[in-house]
Symmetry: C2
Subunit: 210 residues, 2 copies
């Protein structure tokens, strides 16, 4: 395994479709893939620049030249691989929330989604290291939920005092439990039906009894 620690970047092992791309973008791709793989198999403690370098076949010096710390590397890999959700604005509360639930559920079925969950768990053990990172990862989700609730309140579809946090925790939480504890991976159509059921129940719950 010594060889992979050469500082020379082994560009000739890259898949053919990447030919002609800038050398750095190719390095970055391999490194970000390796970050997610290593983190999804281990945790904050097992996630080291050395382990990433071995997996990505990138030299230690090249890694350290580019990323100052494992925090930086993790944040950048997650940002690159979990693009921000497309802003949701269908004009209808239920459709907005179903789309949010579907995006979250699909997200939790991917490696970046599992890594985000691992980071949140690791933050419970190492709050001083990871609390800021977890906060950053959650902010866009909370912002999406707030925007949806705000518009629904303006349209009169939800009471003015609706808690966006409660709504988000019910919807996120249900799809998270569903993705985490189910033994099988369902068909996409089943995920869609589940997203609708969760949203229907939550919206009915958030409206005051007539």
């Amino acid at each position: 395994m010594e060889e992979v620690w050469h500082t020379r970047v082994v560009t000739d092992v890259a898949p053919p479709r990447r030919r002609g791309r800038p050398r750095d973008a190719d390095l970055e791709d391999r490194v970000f893939d390796a970050v997610l793989e290593v983190y999804s198999e281990t945790s904050w403690r097992g996630f080291t620049l050395d382990a990433v370098g071995r997996r990505a076949r990138v030299g230690r010096a090249a890694l350290y030249r580019r990323w100052a710390s494992k925090d930086d590397l993790l944040v950048q890999a997650l940002e690159a691989r979990s693009p921000l959700p497309v802003p949701i604005d269908t004009g209808d509360l239920r459709s907005d929330l179903v789309e949010l639930a579907r995006q979250l559920l699909q997200g939790y079925r991917t490696t970046p989604g599992l890594v985000s969950l691992r980071v949140a768990l690791d933050a419970r053990v190492n709050p001083e290291l990871l609390a800021r990172l977890t906060h950053t990862l959650n902010k866009s989700r909370l912002l999406a939920a707030r925007t949806i609730v705000h518009r629904a309140v303006e349209r009169g579809d939800l009471p003015p005092d609706t808690s966006a946090t409660l709504l988000l925790e019910l919807v996120t939480g249900a799809v998270l439990s569903h993705a985490l504890f189910a033994l099988t991976t369902p068909e996409p159509a089943e995920d869609d039906a589940y997203a609708e059921l969760v949203v229907e129940t939550t919206v009915r719950g958030l409206r005051p009894a007539p």
Copy 2:
């Protein structure tokens, strides 16, 4: 660190209150504590009998004599440290669910609760190893929810076709998100208020519109 690998059990480092307990119970206590600590800091991959032995100051031979595999050790430690929830039967649907939500929320704030979540995450990466274990860990929770729903349906408090799984995923999911993504640990009274809010919303959502 070599010394701790002696097969002799170092009983004289045990806290005084354990004096007089059988040697084996004392060994088990230290090992189970170490299992939860090591697993909560690492993951399935980092959780090795060697790491547990070092943390518990128990010799490798003593560990292997008693536990055949790391599966066995993990299951036994989780069963010993996360006692089954006390059966909940207050006579009222909302009170039953609030008690369930409180138990789950408090559970997720403890090391055994975090370890159970880690096991569920690790099962997504290593299904062949951990799916059975995750299933076992969830069974008692699902059984508790089913019993509560069944009684509520008999009393006429919920429609007969209420899904216990959906109810459990909404309640568990919300408290799980709440415990996992919040930056601060709230006072117990705040947790109780949150449990009530989640249950109120979920029960209203599960009842058909009049």
